[in-house]
């Protein structure tokens, strides 16, 4: 089975090409969400306790993922659903296409899903002659525009209403006014017809409850309900990291998710789907398929530091507070997931060769970790991944030249040994005096010249240890 080779993610290059309108629009969105979240969090005195429990449960689930996934599969089947395991993105696309072909599907309606973005499902369906239509308003707009999302929750926030009106007029052959309410009405009418005619609904999922085999989906517009209520066939593509133990756990995550994401107490519609419909007249699909997507996740689990990324419940709060994200928007991160969480997920899933710039796309200010509802230690994982990039790992060789790595290893060793450290503090000033010109060192020898290329190095002038000893003996004298 071939692994999809993802093109190199040139964060620096992408971010230089970001048009000025994007950071402005993105910041309007992030400011709104940050304010909303703060208000909701202030209402809940037990917020910090909830975060801790959320973090504990997610960690527990990651460490026992095999057990919970096995239970989930058993329960979904018991409820009359079909379960498919997809080791790779290619497997997942093949499975969905097979299901679609077996049911003679011509049109599929899609609810917003990051897993299907991850596997590039729309393209595969299109190539097979099946119309795959995004139905979340923002996703519908960017599908018409043929671009990627700039924000996890409001994917088309970078487009002005005039641009959307022009897009609708051109692509839908109508006369669309530049008014958000009218544009939403037009989309409702067009998509309503599609919902009623589609043979297949495709969705992602926010959580999978192992206890009963239940798919939990959270949406605001109602398109998620349409996709899972009207067509006779529902296929959900969900990452294996979405599994949670039971409904009691779910109470914690539902309380954390919407508050962190949009500043709502709950999103408008939360659906709990356990298998297909039971009765003819109740609506809902005759057939329910769950595609469990691995696509590299099981390998990421090997790294006990990095795997905490799977605690994520995809609220986007980390991106909303990130000073880097706010200045470049979603495109620069080069994959379906952006912001700080993307910076720690993409290098682990795509490899540190492909996404080696992303761990550096951060100031390490720590705002993301402060707001994360499940306490993912994002800055710590960023540093960990920087080390993997620099020193090399299973995906890629080291990016740092050998002399620097050797120097760094010697420094790390020496700093950890008391005697060597003391010897070094005496030796270094002597070595430095060779390169000193006046009060500064303007040109250090290779490999330390990486520093002096940018600014001169101040030579060491005082020894803390000596100063401390003198100070302590003076204090002893004075207290005597």
């Amino acid at each position: 089975m071939s692994h999809d080779a993802h093109p190199y993610i040139g964060f620096e290059e992408y971010s230089e090409r970001v048009p000025q309108s994007i950071p402005l629009a993105v910041q309007q969105a992030t400011d709104r969400f940050v304010g909303g979240r703060a208000a909701r969090v202030a209402e809940l005195p037990q917020w910090e306790e909830l975060r801790q429990i959320g973090s504990d449960i997610r960690l527990h689930t990651i460490e026992n993922m095999d057990v919970y996934l096995t239970r989930l599969e058993e329960k979904v089947k018991l409820a009359g659903g079909h379960v498919h395991w997809a080791e790779t993105a290619e497997d997942a696309r093949r499975i969905v296409l097979q299901i679609a072909k077996a049911h003679n599907v011509k049109t599929a309606v899609k609810s917003k899903s990051m897993a299907t973005e991850e596997i590039g499902l729309n393209h595969a369906l299109g190539a097979a002659g099946i119309e795959a239509l995004e139905t979340d308003l923002g996703e519908y707009i960017i599908q018409l525009a043929g671009t990627g999302p700039s924000h996890i929750i409001v994917p088309a926030v970078h487009l002005k209403k005039e641009e959307i009106a022009a897009l609708f007029s051109e692509r839908l052959d109508i006369n669309a006014p530049a008014d958000p309410i009218e544009l939403a009405r037009i989309a409702r009418e067009i998509l309503r017809e599609k919902f009623l005619g589609a043979e297949m609904g495709i969705s992602g999922g926010n959580f999978l409850v192992a206890e009963t085999g239940t798919l939990v989906m959270v949406t605001n517009e109602g398109n998620g309900r349409m996709c899972t209520t009207l067509p006779d066939l529902h296929v959900a593509v969900v990452g294996i990291d979405k599994v949670i133990p039971d409904w009691e756990s779910l109470t914690v995550f539902l309380k954390l998710l919407a508050r962190s994401a949009t500043g709502q107490k709950l999103s408008t519609y939360t659906q709990f789907i356990t298998g297909p419909r039971r009765a003819e007249g109740e609506f809902g699909p005759k057939e329910f398929h769950l595609v469990l997507l691995d696509n590299g996740r099981s390998k990421v689990l090997k790294d006990p530091v990095g795997r905490e990324v799977f605690k994520c419940i995809r609220c986007g709060a980390c991106a909303n507070v990130c000073p880097v994200y706010k200045n470049v928007g979603g495109f620069a991160y080069g994959w379906f997931i952006s912001g700080p969480i993307g910076a720690i997920l993409s290098p682990q899933m795509l490899g540190t060769q492909t996404a080696r710039e992303l761990p550096y796309a951060s100031t390490l200010c720590g705002a993301c970790a402060d707001v994360c509802p499940v306490k993912i230690p994002i800055p710590a994982i960023l540093r960990h991944l920087r080390r993997r990039v620099a020193q090399g790992d299973e995906f890629a060789g080291p990016t740092l030249p050998a002399p620097i790595r050797v120097t760094a290893s010697i420094a790390a060793f020496a700093l950890a040994q008391n005697r060597l450290y003391r010897f070094g503090t005496r030796l270094l000033p002597l070595l430095m005096s060779i390169f000193k010109r006046g009060d500064w060192i303007p040109n250090a020898p290779y490999p330390l010249n990486r520093w002096t290329k940018a600014r001169p190095l101040p030579p060491f002038t005082a020894q803390f240890r000596g100063w401390w000893n003198v100070r302590s003996s003076k204090r002893k004298d004075s207290t005597r």
Binding site: H60, W85, L137, G138, I181, A184, N223, K265, T268, G281
Partner: protein, 210 residues
Amino acid sequence: MTNPVIENIRRSLGCTDQIPLSLRPAIYKSRLPESVDSEIERFLGEIKKLSGVSQRISPSGIADALKALVAEQQIQKATVWDSPYLKRLGVAHSLQTLGMELVSPNANEHEMAQCDLGITEADYLLPETGTLVLRSSAEKPRGVSLLPRVHLAIVRPEMLRADMHQVFAEAKDSHYLVFITGPSRTADIELTVTLGVHGPKNLYVWIVEE
């Protein structure tokens, strides 16, 4: 029977066959209910904050309230859950008296989508968030709360639960549940809040006190 994904996970986690599952970390305790009256007020208040319309009503007031709603929303076609309680309140009968065309709640989706109004009950109510919890069955089809442009839920105080914990304990074996918290909304175009993008544009909730 096992599969490659599970095997890969076990290898990565370093699982040595069937270690008993450690206990799931304990969950924070649920919210405590207040008096019925303040729970009702909180519930109705939250719905108003979400741009829904909510009120307390007596069984004898239903017919008049329906008349006002039909006029206000210019309703012509309606569909009603076929449940014993709504029958006892005479909801469908009142609508017929008002000259409404009634569509069966089990009608196909094309007919259902032509309805202006869908009337349901709710199986549970969450006051803290203003949430309606609906199960699904042939008597309580999902389309009624989704396809018409106006959704009216006629509910009772007995359905109030303090927190999700109680709802899940009672309903987790249902094959389908939906939480409805306010009318359908989006802010996808220039962050302008727009109601009714796919689901109902207007949500009415009447809580009936005998």
